[in-house]
């Protein structure tokens, strides 16, 4: 691949890439591309060309080349003379950017190629489309025959645009032009044609003109050749570099495939595509929406999405992942809360159940055992009543009945004795006990129930309590029973006043005293004495066993239990447990 201009001309880069890609696409084995740049726009003297040719000759001596792809611009020695001299047996395909510049002799050199024809009408159409207010078009061109031919086509095409003045700047040396384009008035645009020779006889490439004039111009600059895009010009309707490259590649493949270049006709690419530089649109405040459908906007910075598509996708995935995780955690938390609520609920029930179970079991067994003799006593008494109602009561019968009643009464007494001795001797454990821990645990257990009934339950105790011995389960029952009694006692009061305090302290004699103090209505004086009697209850659904059993338990531990009214409000139930001296 031999290029006329430098590597840096944007159009060349696109063209080269397009050719490479297209060719590689068609061939399975790897094609090795070697590129050389004459850089004629910077070094235009004959000596430079000779050195370039010598350099290539030495560089590629002995190298097997399959094809020469020439990208001549103006100087067709690249497509003819040079390969002819250096690589006579290697077929040549050229890609030319201006049809006008292709020398007639080229076809005689036995090479083929593709040339592009400037889409002048299309470019003028694009100008009017992007800038409908355009009144004047300054056309910059040269004076050579080929320059004039192109200018002629422009002039011809300009006829179609009414009310737009065309100003052909051909008699000004290019050196003057940067100053001239700086002061062009609004409503004017510049169109760059070719300057193979200006009035001073100097040669300029279109890319040179664009790079010099476009940044300086006070008005938008348009071009005919697509390879110039990127130098500051707005654009034009140009042959697409990718299309041109692709077609050149097809041509090259045909030649590589064995087609005789002499017999392959030179192709002409005429289809212009409106192509603009996004940066120039911004500079001149031309809306992107004005670019016709099917047009190409180059150099637009990629949108955030285009630029960071992968990153955005990854971030989205991460966010999504996080969202899912967070969602999961939230669901989990909710589940846990539900579970906690359930546990709280169960604990409340448990508090009731444990009280009902131990107390209830005892009470139930007691009731059953007692109801047998009590029922017998009742029946006997009722029978006796009936006998006594008779005219001649059978006294012997009645005596027997009374005897039976007495026996059953003794039996009932023995039931209670048995129950007490059962508690004392068999079911009571006596182990060293952490009373503070037991109280804390019990208060925690009752807290749910207290909270549900809007009672403020607190525990007050010193860091150190004397060691005690006892039955953990039974003592817990006593404390729980006293707490729940206290809660029940405050059911009617105002919410603010529902304070229940469990207090533990060391008594003067070294024993531990536990007090459960409520703010309820207190104990009526007439009932104070009977509180601890079995079956005595002040609650509508009470069994009347709680305090009786509590008393049995505490006394079995060698302690005392009693109740009194608080000085201010409510009642306090206290029990003591002897310190464990061992």
């Amino acid at each position: 691949m031999i290029f006329n201009e430098s590597k840096d001309v944007p159009g060349n880069i696109m063209l080269e890439q397009a050719v490479r890609a297209e060719m590689q696409k068609a061939v399975t084995n790897r094609i090795e591309f070697l590129a050389e740049y004459l850089d004629a726009s910077h070094f235009s003297d004959k000596e430079h060309f000779r050195l370039f040719q010598d350099y290539l000759g030495k560089k590629y001596a002995g190298q097997k080349l399959d094809l020469i792809l020439a990208f001549p611009s103006r100087d067709y020695r690249l497509a003819g003379e040079l390969p002819d001299a250096l690589f006579p047996d290697v077929p040549v395909v050229f890609v030319a950017i201006n049809e006008m510049e292709v020398p007639e002799a080229i076809s005689k050199l036995g090479v083929t190629g593709i040339v592009q024809r400037f889409d002048i009408r299309g470019t003028l159409g694009l100008i009017m489309r992007l800038q409908p207010d355009t009144r004047r078009v300054v056309v910059i061109g040269g004076i050579s025959g080929m320059d004039r031919a192109t200018l002629g086509r422009i002039a011809e095409a300009s006829q179609a645009l009414e009310g737009v003045e065309f100003d052909f700047w051909t008699n000004r040396p290019v050196a003057e032009l940067p100053g001239a384009v700086k002061v062009l008035p609004e409503g004017t645009v510049v169109l760059l044609s070719t300057v193979i020779s200006d009035v001073n006889g100097q040669t300029f490439y279109m890319s040179q003109l664009a790079q010099t004039l476009a940044p300086a111009a006070s008005v938008p600059v348009y071009v005919l050749g697509g390879w110039v895009l990127g130098s500051g010009v707005v654009g034009g309707s140009v042959v697409n570099s990718e299309d041109l490259g692709a077609r050149a590649a097809q041509l090259a493949l045909r030649v590589l495939g064995g087609a005789d270049p002499e017999k392959v006709p030179i192709e002409v690419a005429t289809k212009g595509t409106p192509t603009v530089d996004w940066r120039a649109l911004q500079r001149w405040g031309i809306k992107e929406s004005r670019v016709p459908a099917g047009g190409v906007i180059r150099y637009r910075p990629e949108t955030l999405w285009e630029q960071h598509r992968d990153l955005i996708l990854i971030l989205l995935a991460v966010f999504l992942g996080q969202a899912v995780t967070i969602g999961g955690l939230l669901a989990q938390r909710q589940q846990r809360r539900r579970a906690e609520a359930e546990i709280l609920n169960q604990r409340t029930e448990l508090a009731h159940a444990t009280r009902v179970s131990t107390m209830g079991q005892l009470a139930s067994a007691l009731a059953h055992e007692l109801n047998q003799p009590l029922g017998a006593i009742l029946r006997n008494a009722e029978a006796a009543e009936i006998f006594l109602q008779k005219e001649k009561p059978n006294l012997e019968e009645i005596r027997t009945i009374l005897e039976d009643i007495r026996k059953d009464d003794q039996r009932a007494g023995s039931v209670i004795d048995r129950m007490r001795s059962l508690l004392k001797k068999h079911s009571l454990e006596s182990k060293p006990l952490d009373l503070g821990g037991l109280l804390a645990e019990t208060v925690t257990l009752a807290q749910a129930d207290a909270h549900a009934r809007r009672v403020n339950l607190t525990l007050q105790m010193p860091a150190q309590l004397p060691a005690v011995r006892g039955d953990r389960v039974h003592l817990q029952q006593v404390v729980l029973n006293l707490i729940l009694n206290g809660v029940d006692a405050m059911a009617g009061g105002t919410e603010a006043g529902r304070l229940l305090t469990v207090r533990a302290e060391t008594a003067r004699d070294g024993s531990v005293e536990v007090a459960v103090s409520d703010c309820g209505t207190g104990i009526p004086p007439d009932k104070a004495k009977r509180l601890f009697e079995p079956f005595f209850t002040t609650k509508p659904d009470g069994m009347g066993m709680g305090l009786a059993i509590s008393q049995t338990i505490i006394e079995a531990h060698g302690g005392k239990i009693w109740a009194e009214n608080n000085a201010a409000r409510g009642a306090v139930f206290k029990f003591t447990l002897p310190a464990n001296d061992n």
């Binding site: 139930s364 009731a367 059953h368 055992e369 109801n371 047998q372 003799p373 009590l374 029922g375 017998a376 006593i377 009742l378 029946r379 006997n380 009722e382 029978a383 009936i386 006998f387 009945i401 039976d404 026996k407 059953d408 039996r411």
Partner: protein, 212 residues
Amino acid sequence: MNLPPESGTVFVVDDDASFLKSVSRLLRAAGCSVQAFDSAEAFLEQLGPGMSGCVLVDLQMPGSNGLELQEALAKSANPLPVVFLSAQGDIPTTVQAMRRGAEDFLTKLSPKEKLLDAVGRALARGAEERKERGRLEELRGRFGGLTARELEVLEHVVRGKLNKQIACDLGINERTVKLHRTNLTRRLQVQSVAELTRLVEEAGLFKRGKAE
């Protein structure tokens, strides 16, 4: 409590000797005929078709409890009404007992009025049911005297068929049908087809045939 002498015996079943004695004493004092048993097994062993009255049973007993006694009794040929007594009854047991047709469910500490009232109702129901059972047995006995052919004819008659149809259905002479009908009404001591139908219904005969 004034009970007619034929209302039967109160069979008291309780493992608590003291209570058994006292409640029996009370019931006797109230004018009941009483028979005491100290276990469900002892009572069920004695149970015979001739026993009339009701059962007063303790719910909780070692061995078979009150509910089991109730079940066995219901399956027997002499399903006497049951009144439960319990030292301490719980709701599920009570519900179960009542569903199975217990006359009442009382605690041992229920006042005597409640107890005697329940026993009175159970005895009355027992007598009523016994009377009903007797009548049914007597009826079935009457039907039992019929020959297989007479039963066939009877079935057709109570379904409202004419002699001609019956003769045709059974493949016998119409005169023979008439003869069977005469024998039928004589043996069953009825005057009309309507009465015959009522008797058949009461005795629960041909129930399946009707459902066809």
